[in-house]
């Protein structure tokens, strides 16, 4: 059943992604000031939305795990976090490429960029903690607790970085004001359509990863049974 759902989602997502790529590359016009490079936003922003949704899912799943102690929620939390990290990496890298072209530098301590990097490190720490704990129940509990702390910290960091930047204004123009005023309705629509495509892709990743997690748990349990037999 799960396999069929994944397959069906793939059947929808793949043509959509290909079609979007075609539209983005060949049909939408260049942006007036930025030229062709602005197209990277069609992946940059939707990747951020997907990552944010993944992090949020991980938080909800972690709270649910602590409340219900059901391994299912732990599997959802880790699948969502890993997928979130992948999309956050896309978000960061596309951002850096854009920065190289537009600002001439790979990295600027722009508030959003800085925040995205900190987020990435925080959730990477979550995966590191997981990899170090052997007992699945202990791992689920401790990483759920860590995930709650991560969400809280990341939320405060967002505010902190904003204040930090207003105190030290950089030579950087804000992404949002630059985009919002000039955005063509067709461009905006394309942004949403590609967000849907990436969200679908993210969902597929989570479902595949979820399956792996279940199999892993089964293997672990079987190994413990085998040890108990001897």
């Amino acid at each position: 059943m799960r396999r069929k759902i994944i397959l069906a989602l793939g059947v929808v997502a793949l043509p959509l992604l290909l079609r979007n790529l075609y539209v983005i590359m060949f049909l939408v016009p260049d942006e007036m000031e930025q030229g062709p490079i602005y197209r990277i936003f069609y992946y940059h922003l939707p990747a951020f939305f997907t990552a944010a949704l993944c992090y949020l899912t991980a938080l909800v799943a972690s709270v649910l795990y602590l409340a219900k102690k059901d391994q299912k929620y732990d599997a959802i939390a880790v699948s969502a976090t890993e997928t979130g990290l992948a999309f956050a990496a896309v978000n960061l890298i596309t951002g850096m490429i854009w920065g190289r072209i537009s600002w001439g530098i790979w990295w600027a301590w722009d508030p959003r960029l800085t925040w995205a990097l900190i987020c990435w490190l925080v959730y990477f720490g979550y995966l590191m903690l997981r990899s170090a704990i052997d007992d699945p129940t202990e791992r689920a509990k401790n990483s759920a607790v860590l995930s709650i702390f991560a969400s809280a910290s990341v939320a405060v960091t967002w505010k902190a970085i904003e204040w930090w930047r207003t105190q030290h204004p950089g030579p950087v123009l804000s992404i949002r004001t630059g985009g919002v005023q000039k955005i063509d309705p067709a461009m905006e629509q394309m942004l949403y359509v590609n967000t849907v495509a990436l969200l679908l892709l993210g969902l597929i990743f989570v479902l595949v990863r979820l399956r792996q997690e279940e199999v892993q748990r089964e293997i672990d349990a079987l190994r413990r049974y085998a040890h108990a037999m001897n």
């Binding site: 490190l121 903690l129 170090a132 860590l146 910290s153 960091t157």
Partner: protein, 226 residues
């Protein structure tokens, strides 16, 4: 009330143990002084530069020292499985956590109070001009380190590579607290005029402390009862 009494017992026990062996105190203190010394080679700072990033420099040292201190926090209970006896005692998880966090706070704050004059001598700063405010800010920042650090110490105590894991988890999450305490320390250290955004950073630091302390106290039992 009982929770606080139990926490005080744990804190007193931790401090007594530490002063008996001086394991963390000696290593952390000498480490901090060495780092302070190395920074002076790395930057060779002029007084203007110190006014600009003195707080940041000082807190880099304290953050390193803090990781060393909290690493010992729950690891102290590992030999002879003392942690089992503590968890099975009437003290709640919250009491155990609070006691250990307070002990870590006292140790770290003491080390900071020694480092401050050393810093003043090395970098030629009259750091005592607003000593009251400075100590208050140091205390707030130190609590952020001690609280989050002790909690993560409980999370990671049974892991291989514990010493590496703890700072990797701790530092990224502490960024808001470190950022604000660096800003605040910078202002007070050099006796600059209090800028407009001072209270914003102070509120952020206090807010961070309230949030992390609440979460830790609430989740301590979950982490300690395995």
């Amino acid at each position: 009330m009982t929770t606080l009494r139990h926490a005080a017992t744990i804190a007193a026990k931790d401090l007594r143990s530490e002063f008996r062996t001086k394991e963390s105190i000696n290593s952390t203190l000498s480490f901090s002084v060495v780092i302070l010394l190395l920074f002076s080679f790395a930057f060779d700072p002029s007084p203007d530069m110190i006014a600009e990033f003195g707080g940041g420099l000082l807190w880099m040292v304290f953050a390193f020292a803090g990781a060393l201190i909290v690493n010992r926090s729950f690891a102290r209970e590992l030999p002879n499985d003392c942690i089992d006896v503590l968890v099975s005692s009437p003290a709640s998880g919250a009491a155990l956590f609070l006691g250990k966090a307070v002990a870590a706070f006292v140790l770290l704050f003491g080390i900071e109070c020694v480092c401050l004059p050393v810093f003043g001598v090395f970098y030629n700063i009259t750091w005592w001009r607003s000593i009251g405010g400075l100590l208050g800010v140091l205390a707030l920042g130190t609590w952020a380190l001690a609280c989050a650090g002790t909690f993560f110490s409980a999370l990671t105590v049974n892991l291989r590579l514990r010493e590496l894991m703890l700072p990797m988890l701790l530092y990224p999450m502490l960024i808001p607290a470190l950022l604000s305490v660096m800003m605040l320390t910078n202002t007070l250290l050099t006796g600059q005029a209090i800028p407009d955004d001072f209270t914003v950073w102070l509120r952020l630091l206090i807010g961070f402390n309230v949030m992390f302390t609440t979460l830790s106290v609430y989740l301590a039992e979950t982490v300690l009862v395995r």
